[in-house]
Protein backbone atom coordinates (compact mmCIF):
# COMPACT_ATOMS: atom_id res chain seq x y z
CA UNK A 1 0.00 0.00 0.00
CA UNK A 2 1.46 3.31 -0.96
CA UNK A 3 1.83 5.71 1.82
CA UNK A 4 1.16 9.28 1.01
CA UNK A 5 -0.09 10.49 4.32
CA UNK A 6 -1.88 13.61 3.37
CA UNK A 7 -0.22 15.76 5.95
CA UNK A 8 -0.51 19.22 4.58
CA UNK A 9 1.10 22.13 6.26
CA UNK A 10 0.51 25.73 5.46
CA UNK A 11 2.50 25.60 2.28
CA UNK A 12 0.81 24.92 -1.02
CA UNK A 13 0.94 21.21 -1.68
CA UNK A 14 0.36 19.54 -4.97
CA UNK A 15 -1.80 16.87 -3.44
CA UNK A 16 -5.32 16.95 -2.17
CA UNK A 17 -5.67 16.36 1.46
CA UNK A 18 -7.72 13.20 1.47
CA UNK A 19 -9.26 11.75 4.56
CA UNK A 20 -8.96 8.25 3.16
CA UNK A 21 -6.34 6.77 1.01
CA UNK A 22 -8.64 5.52 -1.66
CA UNK A 23 -10.74 6.82 -4.45
CA UNK A 24 -14.16 8.40 -4.20
CA UNK A 25 -16.12 5.57 -5.74
CA UNK A 26 -14.91 3.09 -3.16
CA UNK A 27 -15.41 5.43 -0.24
CA UNK A 28 -18.87 6.21 -1.58
CA UNK A 29 -19.72 2.52 -1.73
CA UNK A 30 -18.64 1.94 1.84
CA UNK A 31 -20.74 4.87 2.96
CA UNK A 32 -23.71 3.63 1.00
CA UNK A 33 -23.33 0.22 2.62
CA UNK A 34 -23.66 1.84 6.02
CA UNK A 35 -27.06 3.09 5.05
CA UNK A 36 -27.88 -0.40 3.82
CA UNK A 37 -26.95 -1.70 7.24
CA UNK A 38 -29.51 0.63 8.77
CA UNK A 39 -32.12 -0.39 6.22
CA UNK A 40 -31.72 -4.04 7.12
CA UNK A 41 -31.66 -3.03 10.77
CA UNK A 42 -35.16 -1.71 10.52
CA UNK A 43 -36.42 -4.90 8.87
CA UNK A 44 -34.42 -7.38 10.95
CA UNK A 45 -34.93 -5.30 14.09
CA UNK A 46 -38.68 -5.41 13.54
CA UNK A 47 -38.45 -9.18 13.20
CA UNK A 48 -36.41 -9.64 16.36
CA UNK A 49 -38.70 -7.38 18.33
CA UNK A 50 -41.93 -8.87 17.06
CA UNK A 51 -40.66 -12.36 17.67
CA UNK A 52 -39.58 -11.43 21.17
CA UNK A 53 -43.03 -9.94 21.80
CA UNK A 54 -45.01 -12.81 20.28
CA UNK A 55 -42.93 -16.00 20.51
CA UNK A 56 -46.06 -18.13 20.01
CA UNK A 57 -46.32 -16.99 16.40
CA UNK A 58 -42.90 -18.34 15.49
CA UNK A 59 -42.66 -22.14 15.44
CA UNK A 60 -39.40 -24.03 15.98
CA UNK A 61 -36.85 -24.03 13.16
CA UNK A 62 -37.53 -26.59 10.48
CA UNK A 63 -41.28 -26.90 11.07
CA UNK A 64 -42.33 -24.60 8.28
CA UNK A 65 -39.15 -23.65 6.47
CA UNK A 66 -36.80 -26.15 4.93
CA UNK A 67 -33.39 -25.82 6.51
CA UNK A 68 -31.69 -28.19 4.06
CA UNK A 69 -32.75 -26.35 0.95
CA UNK A 70 -31.75 -22.99 2.31
CA UNK A 71 -28.49 -24.29 3.71
CA UNK A 72 -27.65 -25.36 0.19
CA UNK A 73 -28.67 -21.94 -1.08
CA UNK A 74 -26.51 -20.28 1.55
CA UNK A 75 -23.61 -22.40 0.46
CA UNK A 76 -24.11 -21.18 -3.10
CA UNK A 77 -24.00 -17.59 -1.95
CA UNK A 78 -20.78 -18.24 -0.04
CA UNK A 79 -19.33 -19.80 -3.19
CA UNK A 80 -20.39 -16.76 -5.17
CA UNK A 81 -18.43 -14.62 -2.76
CA UNK A 82 -15.28 -16.59 -3.34
CA UNK A 83 -15.72 -16.44 -7.11
CA UNK A 84 -16.15 -12.69 -6.75
CA UNK A 85 -12.85 -12.24 -4.91
CA UNK A 86 -11.25 -14.48 -7.52
CA UNK A 87 -12.50 -12.13 -10.21
CA UNK A 88 -11.08 -9.20 -8.32
CA UNK A 89 -7.74 -10.97 -7.85
CA UNK A 90 -7.72 -11.68 -11.59
CA UNK A 91 -8.17 -8.06 -12.57
CA UNK A 92 -5.47 -7.06 -10.15
CA UNK A 93 -3.13 -9.24 -12.20
CA UNK A 94 -4.46 -8.00 -15.53
CA UNK A 95 -5.88 -11.44 -16.15
CA UNK A 96 -8.77 -10.53 -18.48
CA UNK A 97 -9.79 -14.11 -19.09
CA UNK A 98 -9.93 -14.89 -15.39
CA UNK A 99 -11.90 -11.75 -14.66
CA UNK A 100 -14.60 -12.68 -17.13
CA UNK A 101 -14.81 -16.32 -16.12
CA UNK A 102 -15.05 -15.61 -12.42
CA UNK A 103 -17.57 -12.82 -12.95
CA UNK A 104 -19.70 -15.15 -14.99
CA UNK A 105 -19.48 -17.79 -12.28
CA UNK A 106 -20.58 -15.25 -9.70
CA UNK A 107 -23.52 -14.21 -11.84
CA UNK A 108 -24.62 -17.80 -12.34
CA UNK A 109 -24.38 -18.59 -8.65
CA UNK A 110 -26.23 -15.40 -7.71
CA UNK A 111 -28.97 -16.01 -10.22
CA UNK A 112 -29.37 -19.56 -9.00
CA UNK A 113 -29.74 -18.27 -5.47
CA UNK A 114 -32.63 -16.10 -6.58
CA UNK A 115 -34.08 -18.99 -8.55
CA UNK A 116 -34.01 -21.32 -5.58
CA UNK A 117 -35.56 -18.63 -3.43
CA UNK A 118 -38.39 -18.26 -5.93
CA UNK A 119 -38.92 -22.01 -5.85
CA UNK A 120 -38.97 -21.90 -2.07
CA UNK A 121 -41.57 -19.14 -2.08
CA UNK A 122 -43.85 -21.07 -4.42
CA UNK A 123 -43.52 -24.13 -2.25
CA UNK A 124 -44.20 -22.19 0.94
CA UNK A 125 -47.20 -20.38 -0.45
CA UNK A 126 -48.75 -23.73 -1.35
CA UNK A 127 -48.33 -24.72 2.28
CA UNK A 128 -50.35 -21.70 3.35
CA UNK A 129 -47.31 -19.79 4.50
CA UNK A 130 -48.15 -16.38 3.08
CA UNK A 131 -47.43 -12.77 4.04
CA UNK A 132 -51.12 -11.88 4.06
CA UNK A 133 -52.48 -12.14 7.56
CA UNK A 134 -55.96 -13.42 6.89
CA UNK A 135 -54.87 -16.07 4.39
CA UNK A 136 -52.17 -17.47 6.64
CA UNK A 137 -52.80 -21.13 7.43
CA UNK A 138 -49.36 -22.54 8.18
CA UNK A 139 -48.06 -23.28 11.63
CA UNK A 140 -47.30 -20.29 13.84
CA UNK A 141 -48.97 -16.98 13.21
CA UNK A 142 -49.26 -14.36 10.50
CA UNK A 143 -46.42 -12.28 11.94
CA UNK A 144 -44.14 -15.08 10.88
CA UNK A 145 -45.25 -14.87 7.28
CA UNK A 146 -45.16 -11.08 7.17
CA UNK A 147 -41.66 -10.74 8.56
CA UNK A 148 -40.24 -13.68 6.63
CA UNK A 149 -41.29 -12.47 3.21
CA UNK A 150 -40.33 -8.89 3.78
CA UNK A 151 -36.83 -9.70 5.02
CA UNK A 152 -35.97 -12.42 2.56
CA UNK A 153 -37.77 -10.56 -0.22
CA UNK A 154 -35.70 -7.45 0.25
CA UNK A 155 -32.57 -9.49 0.50
CA UNK A 156 -33.55 -11.24 -2.72
CA UNK A 157 -34.10 -7.86 -4.33
CA UNK A 158 -30.60 -6.89 -3.34
CA UNK A 159 -29.19 -10.08 -4.83
CA UNK A 160 -31.09 -9.42 -8.03
CA UNK A 161 -29.73 -5.89 -8.23
CA UNK A 162 -26.29 -7.32 -7.58
CA UNK A 163 -26.67 -9.82 -10.42
CA UNK A 164 -27.71 -7.02 -12.75
CA UNK A 165 -24.79 -4.86 -11.68
CA UNK A 166 -22.40 -7.77 -12.11
CA UNK A 167 -23.76 -8.36 -15.58
CA UNK A 168 -23.11 -4.73 -16.42
CA UNK A 169 -19.55 -5.04 -15.15
CA UNK A 170 -19.05 -8.26 -17.11
CA UNK A 171 -20.21 -6.61 -20.31
CA UNK A 172 -17.78 -3.78 -19.77
CA UNK A 173 -15.03 -6.24 -18.84
CA UNK A 174 -15.53 -7.93 -22.20
CA UNK A 175 -14.55 -4.68 -23.89
CA UNK A 176 -11.37 -4.70 -21.84
CA UNK A 177 -12.43 -1.72 -19.79
CA UNK A 178 -10.67 -2.87 -16.63
CA UNK A 179 -7.08 -3.52 -15.74
CA UNK A 180 -4.86 -3.45 -12.71
CA UNK A 181 -4.76 0.35 -12.89
CA UNK A 182 -8.45 0.82 -13.40
CA UNK A 183 -10.55 -1.60 -11.44
CA UNK A 184 -12.89 0.63 -9.42
CA UNK A 185 -16.19 -0.78 -10.68
CA UNK A 186 -15.00 -4.36 -10.15
CA UNK A 187 -13.98 -3.59 -6.62
CA UNK A 188 -17.15 -1.76 -5.63
CA UNK A 189 -19.50 -4.28 -7.16
CA UNK A 190 -17.54 -6.82 -5.17
CA UNK A 191 -18.01 -4.85 -1.96
CA UNK A 192 -21.71 -4.72 -2.59
CA UNK A 193 -21.85 -8.40 -3.37
CA UNK A 194 -20.00 -9.44 -0.24
CA UNK A 195 -22.19 -7.19 1.82
CA UNK A 196 -25.29 -8.91 0.47
CA UNK A 197 -23.66 -12.23 1.32
CA UNK A 198 -22.92 -10.98 4.81
CA UNK A 199 -26.51 -9.96 5.36
CA UNK A 200 -27.65 -13.37 4.25
CA UNK A 201 -25.38 -15.07 6.75
CA UNK A 202 -27.15 -13.12 9.47
CA UNK A 203 -30.61 -13.61 7.99
CA UNK A 204 -30.14 -17.34 7.50
CA UNK A 205 -29.19 -17.71 11.13
CA UNK A 206 -31.97 -15.73 12.68
CA UNK A 207 -34.76 -16.70 10.31
CA UNK A 208 -34.04 -20.34 9.69
CA UNK A 209 -31.92 -21.58 12.56
CA UNK A 210 -32.93 -19.76 15.73
CA UNK B 1 -57.26 30.78 39.58
CA UNK B 2 -54.35 31.46 37.30
CA UNK B 3 -54.09 32.36 33.70
CA UNK B 4 -51.76 29.51 32.82
CA UNK B 5 -53.37 26.38 34.06
CA UNK B 6 -56.97 25.75 34.79
CA UNK B 7 -57.33 24.50 38.36
CA UNK B 8 -56.12 20.97 38.92
CA UNK B 9 -58.38 18.66 40.93
CA UNK B 10 -56.38 15.48 41.41
CA UNK B 11 -53.93 14.47 44.10
CA UNK B 12 -50.90 14.58 41.86
CA UNK B 13 -52.07 17.58 39.86
CA UNK B 14 -50.35 20.13 42.11
CA UNK B 15 -47.09 18.17 41.95
CA UNK B 16 -47.07 18.38 38.17
CA UNK B 17 -48.03 22.02 38.26
CA UNK B 18 -45.24 22.70 40.73
CA UNK B 19 -42.70 21.05 38.46
CA UNK B 20 -44.05 23.10 35.61
CA UNK B 21 -43.54 26.31 37.54
CA UNK B 22 -40.03 25.30 38.58
CA UNK B 23 -39.12 24.70 34.96
CA UNK B 24 -40.85 27.91 34.01
CA UNK B 25 -38.77 29.79 36.54
CA UNK B 26 -35.49 28.23 35.40
CA UNK B 27 -36.16 28.60 31.72
CA UNK B 28 -37.57 32.05 32.39
CA UNK B 29 -34.30 33.13 33.93
CA UNK B 30 -32.30 31.55 31.09
CA UNK B 31 -34.61 33.15 28.59
CA UNK B 32 -34.34 36.63 30.02
CA UNK B 33 -30.61 36.31 30.50
CA UNK B 34 -29.84 35.15 26.98
CA UNK B 35 -32.26 37.47 25.22
CA UNK B 36 -31.16 40.49 27.20
CA UNK B 37 -27.53 39.69 26.50
CA UNK B 38 -28.30 39.19 22.84
CA UNK B 39 -30.07 42.52 22.46
CA UNK B 40 -27.55 44.29 24.63
CA UNK B 41 -24.68 43.02 22.48
CA UNK B 42 -26.52 43.91 19.31
CA UNK B 43 -26.88 47.49 20.43
CA UNK B 44 -23.66 47.90 22.37
CA UNK B 45 -21.41 46.43 19.70
CA UNK B 46 -23.01 47.82 16.57
CA UNK B 47 -20.46 49.05 14.02
CA UNK B 48 -19.39 52.63 14.62
CA UNK B 49 -16.67 54.86 13.30
CA UNK B 50 -13.29 54.13 14.82
CA UNK B 51 -14.53 51.06 16.62
CA UNK B 52 -12.91 47.75 15.80
CA UNK B 53 -13.95 44.23 16.68
CA UNK B 54 -11.78 42.41 19.16
CA UNK B 55 -9.90 39.43 17.69
CA UNK B 56 -10.84 36.61 19.99
CA UNK B 57 -11.08 32.86 19.46
CA UNK B 58 -12.79 31.92 22.66
CA UNK B 59 -12.18 31.32 26.27
CA UNK B 60 -11.80 27.88 27.76
CA UNK B 61 -12.84 28.93 31.24
CA UNK B 62 -16.09 30.47 30.05
CA UNK B 63 -16.63 27.39 27.91
CA UNK B 64 -16.31 25.08 30.90
CA UNK B 65 -18.64 27.18 33.00
CA UNK B 66 -21.43 27.32 30.49
CA UNK B 67 -21.15 23.63 29.90
CA UNK B 68 -21.25 22.50 33.50
CA UNK B 69 -23.82 24.92 34.88
CA UNK B 70 -26.58 23.94 32.45
CA UNK B 71 -25.61 20.31 32.92
CA UNK B 72 -26.10 20.52 36.66
CA UNK B 73 -29.37 22.40 36.24
CA UNK B 74 -30.95 20.04 33.74
CA UNK B 75 -29.87 16.89 35.52
CA UNK B 76 -31.33 18.37 38.69
CA UNK B 77 -34.57 18.98 36.82
CA UNK B 78 -34.64 15.42 35.59
CA UNK B 79 -34.01 14.08 39.08
CA UNK B 80 -36.91 16.13 40.40
CA UNK B 81 -39.15 14.72 37.70
CA UNK B 82 -38.30 11.07 38.31
CA UNK B 83 -40.21 10.68 41.55
CA UNK B 84 -43.36 12.35 40.32
CA UNK B 85 -43.33 10.31 37.13
CA UNK B 86 -42.93 7.04 39.01
CA UNK B 87 -45.74 7.90 41.38
CA UNK B 88 -48.08 8.64 38.50
CA UNK B 89 -47.17 6.06 35.88
CA UNK B 90 -45.35 3.12 37.44
CA UNK B 91 -47.92 0.28 37.55
CA UNK B 92 -46.28 -1.20 40.63
CA UNK B 93 -46.71 2.08 42.50
CA UNK B 94 -50.47 2.35 41.89
CA UNK B 95 -52.49 2.91 45.07
CA UNK B 96 -54.01 -0.34 46.36
CA UNK B 97 -57.73 -1.13 46.44
CA UNK B 98 -58.65 1.47 43.91
CA UNK B 99 -62.02 1.39 42.17
CA UNK B 100 -61.40 -0.28 38.83
CA UNK B 101 -63.23 0.26 35.56
CA UNK B 102 -62.55 -0.39 31.90
CA UNK B 103 -62.83 2.32 29.30
CA UNK B 104 -62.98 1.18 25.71
CA UNK B 105 -62.27 3.77 23.07
CA UNK B 106 -63.52 3.50 19.54
CA UNK B 107 -64.06 5.91 16.68
CA UNK B 108 -65.41 8.27 18.06
CA UNK B 109 -66.77 7.41 21.46
CA UNK B 110 -65.80 6.26 24.92
CA UNK B 111 -67.46 3.30 26.55
CA UNK B 112 -67.04 2.83 30.27
CA UNK B 113 -67.55 -0.58 31.86
CA UNK B 114 -68.27 -0.72 35.59
CA UNK B 115 -67.90 -3.90 37.62
CA UNK B 116 -71.53 -4.19 38.72
CA UNK B 117 -72.86 -6.06 41.76
CA UNK B 118 -70.03 -8.55 42.13
CA UNK B 119 -67.33 -5.89 42.08
CA UNK B 120 -65.54 -7.84 39.36
CA UNK B 121 -64.82 -6.59 35.89
CA UNK B 122 -65.44 -8.66 32.78
CA UNK B 123 -68.36 -10.55 34.28
CA UNK B 124 -71.97 -10.78 33.11
CA UNK B 125 -73.29 -8.18 35.51
CA UNK B 126 -71.01 -5.40 34.34
CA UNK B 127 -72.84 -2.28 33.27
CA UNK B 128 -71.78 0.22 30.66
CA UNK B 129 -71.99 3.95 30.04
CA UNK B 130 -71.40 5.81 26.83
CA UNK B 131 -69.32 8.98 26.70
CA UNK B 132 -69.80 9.37 30.42
CA UNK B 133 -67.87 8.41 33.49
CA UNK B 134 -68.96 8.54 37.10
CA UNK B 135 -66.14 8.87 39.56
CA UNK B 136 -66.20 9.06 43.36
CA UNK B 137 -64.27 11.91 44.89
CA UNK B 138 -61.26 11.26 47.15
CA UNK B 139 -60.90 7.65 46.17
CA UNK B 140 -58.16 6.16 44.01
CA UNK B 141 -59.69 5.29 40.69
CA UNK B 142 -58.11 3.14 38.01
CA UNK B 143 -59.20 3.24 34.41
CA UNK B 144 -58.09 0.30 32.29
CA UNK B 145 -57.83 1.68 28.80
CA UNK B 146 -58.56 -0.44 25.76
CA UNK B 147 -59.20 0.39 22.16
CA UNK B 148 -61.14 -1.52 19.60
CA UNK B 149 -59.77 0.24 16.52
CA UNK B 150 -57.02 2.87 16.45
CA UNK B 151 -54.97 4.83 18.96
CA UNK B 152 -56.87 7.37 21.02
CA UNK B 153 -55.79 9.34 24.03
CA UNK B 154 -57.72 9.58 27.28
CA UNK B 155 -57.47 13.17 28.39
CA UNK B 156 -59.08 14.84 31.40
CA UNK B 157 -57.31 18.11 31.76
CA UNK B 158 -58.25 19.15 35.31
CA UNK B 159 -57.06 15.75 36.56
CA UNK B 160 -53.74 16.22 34.71
CA UNK B 161 -54.36 12.84 33.12
CA UNK B 162 -53.46 11.93 29.60
CA UNK B 163 -52.74 8.46 28.33
CA UNK B 164 -52.80 6.98 24.87
CA UNK B 165 -55.13 4.07 24.33
CA UNK B 166 -53.49 1.47 22.14
CA UNK B 167 -55.37 -1.35 20.45
CA UNK B 168 -54.07 -4.71 21.58
CA UNK B 169 -53.00 -3.39 24.97
CA UNK B 170 -54.67 -2.71 28.28
CA UNK B 171 -53.12 0.37 29.80
CA UNK B 172 -54.10 1.26 33.33
CA UNK B 173 -54.10 4.85 34.46
CA UNK B 174 -55.00 6.06 37.93
CA UNK B 175 -56.08 9.28 39.57
CA UNK B 176 -57.74 10.47 42.74
CA UNK B 177 -60.00 13.44 42.28
CA UNK B 178 -60.23 16.03 45.01
CA UNK B 179 -63.26 18.07 44.02
CA UNK B 180 -66.72 17.14 42.83
CA UNK B 181 -68.11 18.52 39.61
CA UNK B 182 -68.45 17.87 35.92
CA UNK B 183 -65.29 17.71 33.83
CA UNK B 184 -64.64 17.30 30.15
CA UNK B 185 -63.16 14.11 28.80
CA UNK B 186 -61.37 14.49 25.50
CA UNK B 187 -59.39 12.56 22.94
CA UNK B 188 -55.90 13.91 22.44
CA UNK B 189 -54.54 11.64 19.74
CA UNK B 190 -55.52 11.98 16.10
CA UNK B 191 -57.82 9.03 15.54
CA UNK B 192 -59.62 9.84 12.31
CA UNK B 193 -61.88 12.52 10.96
CA UNK B 194 -64.10 12.60 13.99
CA UNK B 195 -61.17 13.07 16.36
CA UNK B 196 -62.30 16.55 17.31
CA UNK B 197 -65.75 15.33 18.30
CA UNK B 198 -64.71 12.50 20.59
CA UNK B 199 -65.67 14.14 23.83
CA UNK B 200 -67.37 12.96 26.98
CA UNK B 201 -68.15 13.97 30.53
CA UNK B 202 -66.69 12.91 33.83
CA UNK B 203 -69.10 13.28 36.77
CA UNK B 204 -67.24 13.46 40.03
CA UNK B 205 -69.62 12.75 42.90
CA UNK B 206 -69.28 12.47 46.63
CA UNK B 207 -68.76 8.92 47.76
CA UNK B 208 -72.35 8.58 49.02
CA UNK B 209 -73.78 9.97 45.81
CA UNK B 210 -71.57 7.66 43.87
CA UNK B 211 -72.68 4.62 45.84
CA UNK B 212 -76.31 5.58 45.41
CA UNK B 213 -75.78 6.02 41.71
CA UNK B 214 -73.98 2.69 41.49
CA UNK B 215 -76.83 0.98 43.33
CA UNK B 216 -79.45 2.32 40.93
CA UNK B 217 -77.34 1.20 37.99
CA UNK B 218 -77.02 -2.28 39.43
CA UNK B 219 -80.72 -2.42 40.15
CA UNK B 220 -81.57 -1.24 36.67
CA UNK B 221 -79.27 -3.85 35.24
CA UNK B 222 -80.91 -6.60 37.30
CA UNK B 223 -84.40 -5.42 36.41
CA UNK B 224 -83.62 -5.37 32.74
CA UNK B 225 -83.41 -9.15 32.85
CA UNK B 226 -81.04 -11.54 31.25
CA UNK B 227 -82.38 -11.16 27.71
CA UNK B 228 -82.19 -7.40 27.72
CA UNK B 229 -78.84 -7.57 29.36
CA UNK B 230 -77.43 -9.60 26.54
CA UNK B 231 -78.95 -7.30 23.97
CA UNK B 232 -77.69 -4.19 25.70
CA UNK B 233 -74.28 -5.72 26.17
CA UNK B 234 -74.10 -6.68 22.51
CA UNK B 235 -74.93 -3.26 21.17
CA UNK B 236 -72.95 -1.51 23.82
CA UNK B 237 -75.89 0.76 24.51
CA UNK B 238 -75.76 2.81 27.69
CA UNK B 239 -77.76 1.49 30.58
CA UNK B 240 -79.34 4.81 31.40
Amino acid sequence: MTSHAAAVGDGGQERLERGFEFYNLKLGMWIFLLSEVMFFTSLIGAYIILRFAHPEQFPAPGTVLSIELTAFNTFMLICSSVTMVKAYAAVQHDDQQGLQVWLLATIILGASFVGIQMYEYVYLVREGFVPIANLYTAEGGPLYGSTFYLMTGFHGTHVTIGVLALTGVLLRARTGAFNSQKLGPVEIVGLYWHFVDLVWIVLFTIVYLI
Amino acid sequence: MNWMFPQSVSTFGPEIDRLYYIILAITGVVFVLTEVLLFYFLIRYRAREGHKAEYNHGNTKAEVIWTTVPFVIVVGLALMSVGVWKRIKDPSAFPPNAYQIIVTARQFEWEATYPGADGQLRTADDFKLLNRLNVPVNRPFVVNLESSDVIHSFFVYPFRVKQDVVPGMTIPVWFEVTATGEYALGCAELCGFGHYSMDGTVMVQTQTEFQAWEATQIAARAAAGVANLAAAGATGAPAN
Binding site: M1, T2, G19, F20, E21, F22, W30, I31, L34, V37, M38, T41, G45, I48, I49, F52, A53, P61, G62, I67, A71, T74, F75, I78, C79, S81, V82, M84, V85, K86, A89, Q92, S180, Q181, L183, G190, L191, H194, F195, D197, L198, I201, V202, F204, T205, I206, Y208, L209, I210 | P91, M169
Partner: protein, 93 residues
Protein backbone atom coordinates in the same frame (compact mmCIF):
# COMPACT_ATOMS: atom_id res chain seq x y z
CA UNK C 1 -2.84 -1.56 -8.06
CA UNK C 2 0.39 0.03 -7.21
CA UNK C 3 3.40 -1.67 -8.66
CA UNK C 4 5.28 -1.33 -5.44
CA UNK C 5 2.65 -3.29 -3.64
CA UNK C 6 4.02 -6.65 -2.65
CA UNK C 7 1.13 -7.82 -0.56
CA UNK C 8 -0.04 -11.36 -1.24
CA UNK C 9 -3.72 -12.07 -1.57
CA UNK C 10 -5.62 -13.01 1.53
CA UNK C 11 -6.21 -16.76 1.73
CA UNK C 12 -9.48 -16.60 -0.20
CA UNK C 13 -10.03 -20.34 -0.56
CA UNK C 14 -9.22 -21.01 3.05
CA UNK C 15 -11.78 -18.43 4.16
CA UNK C 16 -14.29 -20.03 1.86
CA UNK C 17 -13.68 -23.40 3.50
CA UNK C 18 -14.03 -21.92 6.94
CA UNK C 19 -17.26 -20.18 5.99
CA UNK C 20 -18.70 -23.39 4.63
CA UNK C 21 -17.75 -25.31 7.77
CA UNK C 22 -19.17 -22.61 10.00
CA UNK C 23 -22.42 -22.74 8.09
CA UNK C 24 -22.61 -26.47 8.48
CA UNK C 25 -21.82 -26.01 12.13
CA UNK C 26 -24.71 -23.62 12.51
CA UNK C 27 -27.13 -26.05 10.94
CA UNK C 28 -25.92 -28.78 13.26
CA UNK C 29 -26.18 -26.54 16.31
CA UNK C 30 -29.71 -25.63 15.37
CA UNK C 31 -30.71 -29.24 14.86
CA UNK C 32 -28.86 -30.92 17.69
CA UNK C 33 -28.71 -28.58 20.65
CA UNK C 34 -31.97 -28.70 22.52
CA UNK C 35 -31.12 -26.04 25.05
CA UNK C 36 -32.63 -22.97 23.43
CA UNK C 37 -30.50 -20.26 25.04
CA UNK C 38 -27.27 -22.16 24.41
CA UNK C 39 -28.16 -22.76 20.78
CA UNK C 40 -29.01 -19.10 20.30
CA UNK C 41 -25.81 -18.00 21.95
CA UNK C 42 -23.67 -20.30 19.84
CA UNK C 43 -25.50 -19.37 16.66
CA UNK C 44 -25.01 -15.69 17.31
CA UNK C 45 -21.32 -16.18 17.98
CA UNK C 46 -20.77 -18.34 14.92
CA UNK C 47 -22.67 -16.14 12.50
CA UNK C 48 -20.98 -13.07 13.90
CA UNK C 49 -17.64 -14.73 13.22
CA UNK C 50 -18.65 -15.60 9.66
CA UNK C 51 -19.85 -12.07 9.05
CA UNK C 52 -16.57 -10.68 10.34
CA UNK C 53 -14.61 -13.06 8.11
CA UNK C 54 -16.50 -11.82 5.07
CA UNK C 55 -16.03 -8.19 6.02
CA UNK C 56 -12.38 -8.52 6.95
CA UNK C 57 -11.12 -10.71 4.14
CA UNK C 58 -13.56 -10.59 1.25
CA UNK C 59 -14.32 -6.93 1.71
CA UNK C 60 -10.67 -6.34 2.58
CA UNK C 61 -11.50 -4.36 5.68
CA UNK C 62 -8.51 -6.00 7.34
CA UNK C 63 -6.21 -4.21 4.91
CA UNK C 64 -7.87 -0.83 5.00
CA UNK C 65 -6.94 2.16 7.17
CA UNK C 66 -8.26 1.99 10.71
CA UNK C 67 -10.38 5.05 9.99
CA UNK C 68 -12.55 2.91 7.79
CA UNK C 69 -13.02 0.38 10.59
CA UNK C 70 -14.32 3.22 12.67
CA UNK C 71 -16.65 4.38 9.96
CA UNK C 72 -17.93 0.87 9.41
CA UNK C 73 -18.56 0.44 13.12
CA UNK C 74 -20.72 3.55 13.48
CA UNK C 75 -24.08 1.82 12.98
CA UNK C 76 -23.38 -1.02 15.39
CA UNK C 77 -24.02 0.80 18.67
CA UNK C 78 -27.11 2.41 17.17
CA UNK C 79 -28.48 -0.98 16.16
CA UNK C 80 -27.87 -2.47 19.59
CA UNK C 81 -29.36 0.53 21.38
CA UNK C 82 -32.47 0.40 19.26
CA UNK C 83 -33.17 -3.29 19.43
CA UNK C 84 -32.45 -3.73 23.11
CA UNK C 85 -34.39 -0.65 24.11
CA UNK C 86 -37.47 -1.63 22.19
CA UNK C 87 -37.29 -5.15 23.59
CA UNK C 88 -37.63 -3.63 27.07
CA UNK C 89 -41.08 -2.67 25.92
CA UNK C 90 -42.18 -6.28 26.00
CA UNK C 91 -40.46 -7.64 29.08
CA UNK C 92 -43.37 -6.51 31.25
CA UNK C 93 -46.28 -7.23 29.01
Amino acid sequence: MEVDEKKAHPPYMLIWGVLAVLMLGKVLISMLIGLKWLAVLLLVIVSFTSALLVAFYYMHLRFEPKKLWLLAAVPIPLILIFIFTVMQEFTQR
